[in-house]
Amino acid sequence: MSRTIDINVHHVTRVEGHGNIVVRAKDGKILKNEWQVPEAPRFFEAMVRGKSYEDIQTIVSRICGICSVTHSLAAIKAIEDAMGIEVSEQTDKLRILAHYGEQIESHSLHVGYLVAPDLLGQKSVVPLASSHPDVVKAVIAVHRLGNTMMEKLSGRKTHPVRLVPGGFAKLPSADDLLDLRGMLEKAIPPAQAVAATVAGLLDKIPDFDRDTEYIALVKPPTYPFYHGQIGSTDTDELVPVQEFERVINEYMTPQSTAKWTRWHRDAYAVGALARFNLNADHLLPLAVETAKQFGLKKGCCNPYWNSIAQIVEIVQVIERSIQLIDERLKAGIEPERAEVTPRAGTGTGCVEAPRGILFHKYSFDETGHCTGANISIPTNQNHGNIQKDFESLVPSILDREQDDIRLLMEMLVRAYDPCISCSTHYLDVEFV
C-alpha cells in the first residue's frame, strides 16, 4: 500500500516568531524533512552603525520583546567592555536581579502559556482558564512576579529604560526591594505548584534522546546567567566571551533567513537544558529538590525536557533573588553611577537569555559612535540542532498518524522556546 505523508506547518503557532515544518514522505521514504525559518530579517547589526553608544541599548532591546532586558544588558556589557568601564557591585547585582525577572517572566510564559496547553490537550491557554483554573492562577502569579521585578528595576516590563552604560538611570529604593522580597517569597508555592502539575504529566512528554553538544556560560561555583566563560559538554576548555566567534562559527543555509551555528559537531544546543547540563552541580537547595521531583539529571539529552529545566530555573532564580536582595538591603542603596567617557574600541557582552547564550559585539570610534556590530542570538544557535533532531526523530515516528507526527514536531520546536522574532520569526509544519 502506498502511503504519503505530507506535513506543511506554515508558521508554527504558540512560538515567538515564524517558523515552518516541512515533511514529505512516500512509502516509508523521507523525501523532505526541514525546519525552515522564513522570518523577515530586521538587520539590527546594520542599523546600529553611526549611532551613539548612548542609544545602542534602546535600539537593540527591540530585537526581542520577550528578552529585552537580556539584549539591553548584553549591549551595555559590550559598551562597557569597549570603553573600559568598571561598574560597582551594586550595579552588577541589581542588573542581575532585573535579568532574573526576565528569566522568570519568559520561562513562566513559555511553560504556562505555550507548552502547558500541549500537555493538557488544549489548543491554547484560554480553555485552561476554565478547565484548570488553579494552574492558570499559579502561572499568572509567577509571571507577574517576573514582570514586577523588571518594572521595579528597569522601569517597565518590556524594553527597559533605566539600564544604561555605567549603571542605572534611576535606582530602585530599599522599599522597592523589600516589596519584591515579599513577592518572591509568596511566589515559591505557586512555582512549586506549577512544577507539581507538570511532574504529573511527564508521560505526555515524548521519549526521545539524541546525544547533543550543549553550550552555556560557566562560572563555578555558581549557576550563572550574567557572568562567566563559554563552556561546552564536549570539552573541558572554557573560552573567554571575547572569543565567541570561534565558538559559534556562523553559516547561512537556504532554508533560513537566520544564521546557523556549529562548534565541535554539526550543531549544538543552548538554553535552560544546556545550562542545567553544564551547571547543575551549583543549584540552590529548592532547585535541586525540584529537579529531583522530575528525575532531571545532568546529561539529559531529551530536547523536550528543556521546558522541565526551565521550571527548575524558575525556582533557582527565585531563591537566588531573595539572597541578592538581602545582601543589597544590608549594604544599603548608594546613589552612584560609573562615569562613562567615550573612546574608540571593540567590546563584547555575553549573557544567558532565557533561551540560551547571547553574544553582542560592537566597535566604536573615538566619539562613541558605533562602527560595526555582530549579534548572535540563542534561537539562531538552536536552529541547526532542531534540524538534526528532526532528522533523528522523524524516521523513528514515521509509522504514526500524520497528525501525531505533526504534533510531536511542533512540540519539539516549542520546547526550544524559539524566539524567532529575534531578527527572524517561525513555526509552520508542511507535510507535503
Binding site: A40, F43, G372
Partner: protein, 248 residues
C-alpha cells in the same frame, strides 16, 4: 449582539506589543468576555479567516508581505495598528537610513544575494492599507489598548492626547533632562505614556510618534536656550523618526 471576532497578526517586529496584551493577565481574561479571539498565532493553535477586528503588529519590510496585509484589510471591518512598528514603522525604519544592499552585506556577507533575504524600504501599516485606529508606543501600554478596544466596542471615539510629553512630565514634577545637559524629545512627541522615560531618569526618544502640529519653533528655542543644536536633536529623532513626514 454576538461577540466580535478578533484576529491578531504580526509582521516584522519584536512581538513586545503582543506581550503587553498577555501581560494584562486577569484583565485580558475579562476582555475575553466581550471579544472572541479567532486567530493569534503566538497564543493559540486555531486559525480563522473570519474576523471583525484585525489587529496588526509590526512593519512591512518585504514586498511579499503587502498582499497578505491587503487581504486582512479586505476581510476586517476594523483594522487597528498595534505599536510603533505598525503605527510609524518604529525602530525598523532605522534600516532605511542606509543603502539596502549595503545593509544586507553588512549582516549576511557573501550570502547577501540569496533570494530569501530580500528586503524593501520599511512601511508602517497605514502606508499599505487604511488604518482605523492607532495604539501608540514601543511597546504599547496594555491599559491604553484595553481602553481603545472598549471604546471601539461601545462605538465611541477614544481620546488620545494631542499635547506633547512635556505636559505630562511637568505634571509629574520631574526634573527636566535639559537641566542636566541631556537631550529629550518630550517637546515634540505625543503624550499618553505619563512621561514614562523622563520619570525613570531617561530621556524621551519618541516612541509614540510626533505630536500633530509640533511646535517646531519652541523646540528650536529650547535647543538654543540649553546650548544644543538642531543637529543634536535630529540625531535623537532618527531612532523612531527615520523617513517620517515631520522634519526640523
Amino acid at each position: 449582539m454576538s461577540k466580535p471576532k478578533v484576529a491578531i497578526f504580526d509582521f516584522a517586529c519584536c512581538e513586545g506589543c503582543q506581550l503587553q496584551i498577555v501581560n494584562m493577565e486577569e484583565e485580558l481574561l475579562d476582555l475575553l468576555t466581550v471579544i472572541d479571539p479567532v486567530q493569534w498565532r503566538e497564543g493559540m493553535s486555531d486559525q480563522s479567516d473570519e474576523y471583525d477586528i484585525a489587529i496588526i503588529e509590526g512593519s512591512i519590510t518585504r514586498e511579499e508581505d503587502e498582499e497578505p496585509l491587503k487581504l486582512i484589510r479586505q476581510r476586517a471591518k476594523i483594522l487597528i495598528a498595534l505599536g510603533a512598528c505598525a503605527t510609524i514603522g518604529g525602530i525598523n525604519k532605522l534600516k532605511d537610513a542606509f543603502d539596502l544592499d549595503d545593509v544586507k552585506k553588512t549582516v549576511y556577507g557573501e550570502a547577501a544575494g540569496m533570494p530569501h533575504l530580500a528586503t524593501a524600504p520599511v512601511k508602517a501599516v497605514h502606508e499599505v492599507v487604511k488604518v482605523d485606529y492607532d495604539v501608540h508606543g514601543c511597546p504599547i501600554d496594555g491599559k491604553e489598548f484595553s481602553y481603545i478596544l472598549r471604546c471601539l466596542l461601545a462605538g465611541r471615539k477614544p481620546a488620545i492626547p494631542r499635547y506633547p510629553v512635556c505636559v505630562e512630565c511637568k505634571l509629574r514634577e520631574n526634573a527636566c533632562c535639559y537641566e542636566f545637559g541631556k537631550l529629550c524629545l518630550g517637546p515634540i512627541i505625543r503624550a499618553g505614556c505619563g512621561a514614562l522615560c523622563p520619570s525613570n531618569g531617561f530621556h524621551c526618544f519618541g516612541c509614540r510618534g510626533y505630536v500633530e502640529d509640533p511646535n517646531v519653533n519652541a523646540a528650536k528655542e529650547v535647543m538654543e536656550q540649553y546650548g544644543k543644536t538642531v543637529e543634536d536633536l535630529r540625531e535623537k529623532m532618527q531612532l523612531f523618526g527615520t523617513r517620517q513626514e515631520f522634519t526640523l
